[in-house]
């Protein structure tokens, strides 16, 4: 058999096969990644919470528990920790149905009022106003309890949301969006649940954005 000098680089079948392989492999990889993400984003159940099973997205009933943000030295960033039972709007026995309904109301309200037009939620949205991903854990809310004449953080948040222009908060003052009391409760539940989601430390250095380390992310920008 004669071995002639040939150029594979000018061969159309070579490029066709290469393109076929890369496209086919990328398609398989993307389908695999889709199913891989499903296990990451699947919401946990109430039983998981009771049994101390850690899920990236906990059950809606996480609003019955205290959430803190603690440094995990092994992972190199802060992670939300679900602690003891904590009253949320005077109750720590929100059922799965009630909590889901509340989160749904909050989610719909956040979409209807277009929070993302100014804020960021889980990496989506704008950076005009503070990032809301971990807003529930923001130490600045402590100042809002006396400012709004409230007794709890959730009450202060809901009062602020119903009438934001009444309270001096940010250089870029939040406008009144006509949020009702019920919607405000839903929004606070939605924010509390969102703060319990393990986002691999996003947004980075959330609790330490301010210069004094006390006022938190709202005044920290």
């Amino acid at each position: 058999m004669s071995r002639k000098v040939v150029s594979v680089w000018t061969s159309i079948p070579f490029w066709r096969r290469s393109a076929g392989w890369v496209t086919g492999f990328a398609a398989v990889l993307l389908i695999w990644l889709t199913f891989d993400s499903m296990s990451q984003i699947t919401m946990g159940t109430d039983a998981d919470l009771k049994n101390g099973i850690t899920k990236r997205v906990p059950a809606p009933t996480v609003i019955n528990y205290k959430i803190t943000y603690e440094m995990d030295t092994r992972r190199g960033h802060e992670v939300p920790k679900i602690g003891e039972k904590e009253k949320f709007f005077g109750r720590d026995d929100w059922s799965e149905e009630e909590a889901s309904a509340l989160l749904r109301l909050g989610k719909l309200a956040s979409q209807a009022k277009n929070c993302m037009n100014c804020h960021t939620l889980l990496g989506n949205g704008a950076y005009y106003a503070p990032d809301l991903t971990k807003a529930w854990l923001d130490p600045a809310w402590e100042n809002y309890i006396p400012m709004t004449g409230s007794t709890t953080k959730e009450e202060a948040m809901s009062k602020f949301l119903q009438n934001p222009s009444m309270y001096p908060s940010h250089e870029r003052m939040m406008p009144n969006l006509g949020i009702t009391e019920r919607e405000a409760i839903g929004l606070v539940a939605f924010l509390k649940h969102m703060s319990s989601i393990d986002t691999n430390g996003f947004p980075r250095n959330f609790g330490r954005m301010s210069i004094d380390g006390v006022t938190g992310a709202i005044h920290g920008k």
Binding site: S2, V6, S11, P13, S18, V22, S39, Q40, T54
Partner: protein, 50 residues
């Protein structure tokens, strides 16, 4: 380069994607190596046809 697994939900891609380097090396390996085989088989075919 390969760090101990610290993610919440165990996943093959989370292990692989410790940083940009590991995933890049993996994807290049898996895409480029079969292309060597495609190149060689095409070369053989062209030589036989010639």
């Amino acid at each position: 380069m390969i760090d101990p697994f610290v993610d919440v939900v165990p996943s093959f891609f989370a292990t692989l994607n410790q940083g940009p380097l590991t995933l890049t090396l993996f994807l290049h390996t898996i895409i480029v190596l079969p292309m060597f085989w495609i190149y060689k088989s095409e070369k053989k075919r062209l030589e036989e046809e010639a």
